[in-house]
Structures are given as structure tokens and as C-alpha cells.
């Protein structure tokens, strides 16, 4: 392995170290945001534990209490929370 490869590998490793926490923070912020949105609609959830982005501003959400919702921004600019089965 030449020196250049080693340096590249080290750089990627360092980059990954920084990138993972940042992604995790974004993920946590999104979960918190969606938890608040669901609560504001008066729907049961407890806490969002999993989020899957289906499209832009359109999320499939799983809650700690087992409820699942679709949270999206409709064309009228309203945040809609729909219960999923």
C-alpha cells in the first residue's frame, strides 16, 4: 500500500467520524420535530422512533406506542398527519 492510499484511507475514516454524528443529529432533530407535529394534532404517539422519507416533505413515521402515521406537507401548505395501518 503506498503512502497516498494510506492518507486517503485515513481521510475517509476521519470524514466518516464527523459525518455519522451529524447525520444522527439531523435524524434526531427530525424525529423530535415530527413528534411535536403529531402531538400538536392531538394524536397519540409518545415519541417517534423511526422515520422513512417517502418523498420531499413526506414521511412515514413509527411511534413508540406502535402507532404509525404519514406526515406530509400538502399543496395548500398544511401539515397533514394521517394514520397508517
Amino acid at each position: 500500500m503506498n503512502k497516498r492510499t494510506v492518507v486517503l484511507a485515513q481521510s475517509l475514516f476521519v470524514l466518516a467520524l464527523f459525518a455519522v454524528p451529524s447525520f444522527a443529529q439531523d435524524e434526531e432533530a427530525l424525529k423530535k420535530d415530527l413528534t411535536a407535529v403529531i402531538a400538536l394534532q392531538g394524536l397519540p404517539c409518545g415519541e417517534v422512533v423511526a422515520v422513512e422519507e417517502q418523498a420531499e416533505s413526506d414521511y412515514a413515521v413509527s411511534c413508540k406506542d406502535g402507532n404509525m402515521y404519514r406526515v406530509y406537507l400538502n399543496a395548500a401548505g398544511r401539515v397533514v398527519v394521517e394514520k397508517r395501518k
Binding site: A29, L30, K32, D33, L34, A36, V37, L40, Q41, S57, V71, L73, G77, R78, V79
Partner: protein, 177 residues
């Protein structure tokens, strides 16, 4: 009327619209959201902002050696005015409320404004008491989102709460929003 949604403090839209950050938001915001009116005062004593915690006054009253200001007891309380722009800027800038939550809150603010509009137009049987309940509930939702992550803004909203209600509950003031 279109100004409403913008004004009603309650505009949480900024971040929601994904527009470039409002330059006002990046500037230092005045801490005072609800301030004393600029109406002429009989005594030229600067009036303390209402958002300032009452602690200094309490401390002053506990200080027997310090004579109270002469004009203080006689000065009539000036009516509150709102710095809605400052409040709006702070709400736009706060990171305590997420993107979707801000939109969701704005939706609820718009709904409440619509209810007020219908009330004043006589199109609904909703009473002012019911509107007040809805208003209080909405404020509580906002406060619950802010109180831990942005207590300063939460405090500003608490201080502005009655002044905002005064705007909403007065038909003439509401029409001028």
C-alpha cells in the same frame, strides 16, 4: 386582513417557507417584546419593559434604605404595545421549533384567525370565551415547545400574551391588523 397572518405574532412561517434567512433575524433582537407605549408620560421617567423580570422591583422594595422613586407611585400605567416584528423575528429564528412544527403551528394560527374573522362577521356561534380558550391552548402549545429550548422567547411570549389577546378580542383592532 392579509396582514393578519403575518402579524399575529404567530407567524412561524419564516423557516417554513425556506426563504433566505431574514436579515432582521440575524441582527440582535431587542429583548423586549411587550413594551410600554410611547405615549407622553407626565413624568420623564424611563419605563421598565414588561419583559424584565420583576425581581429588581422586589429587590428595591426590600431595600429600606433606598427611597422609592418619587414619581413611581403616581405614574399611571401606560398601555402595553407590542413589538410584533421583534417577536416574529425571534420566532423565525428560534431553533427550538422544527420546520414541520412551525408550519403546523402556523396552520393552527391561521385557523384561529379564521375563527375570529367569522366571529366578528357573525358567521359562527363561537363565543369569545371559546375563542379565548382556543387562544390559550395555542399559546400553551407554543410555550411547551419553547420553554426548555428557548426560555427567553417563551418568557417574551408570556409577557405579550395579554397584549396580543387585547388585539384579537377588540374588533376594531383586529380589523386593523
Amino acid at each position: 386582513m392579509a396582514r393578519y397572518a403575518a402579524v399575529l405574532l404567530l407567524l412561524f412561517t419564516a423557516d417554513c417557507a425556506k426563504v433566505p434567512p431574514d436579515p432582521r433575524a440575524s441582527q440582535p433582537q431587542p429583548e423586549v417584546v411587550a413594551t410600554q407605549a410611547a405615549a407622553p408620560q407626565p413624568v420623564a421617567t424611563p419605563v421598565a419593559p414588561t419583559t424584565v423580570p420583576p425581581a429588581p422591583r422586589v429587590a428595591a422594595s426590600r431595600e429600606p434604605a433606598t427611597p422609592p422613586p418619587v414619581a413611581a407611585p403616581t405614574a399611571p400605567p401606560a398601555p402595553l404595545t407590542l413589538d410584533l416584528d421583534a417577536l416574529e423575528a425571534q420566532l423565525r429564528a428560534t431553533k427550538a421549533i422544527g420546520f414541520f412544527t412551525k408550519i403546523s403551528l402556523k396552520n393552527q394560527v391561521d385557523d384561529l384567525m379564521k375563527q375570529f374573522r367569522e366571529h366578528y362577521q357573525g358567521k359562527t356561534g363561537r363565543t369569545m370565551t371559546e375563542l379565548r380558550r382556543s387562544y390559550d391552548l395555542l399559546i400553551m402549545k407554543v410555550l411547551s415547545l419553547l420553554q426548555d429550548a428557548d426560555p427567553k422567547l417563551a418568557s417574551a411570549i408570556v409577557s405579550s400574551r395579554e397584549a396580543i389577546w387585547a388585539l384579537l378580542s377588540d374588533q376594531n383592532k383586529f380589523a386593523n391588523l
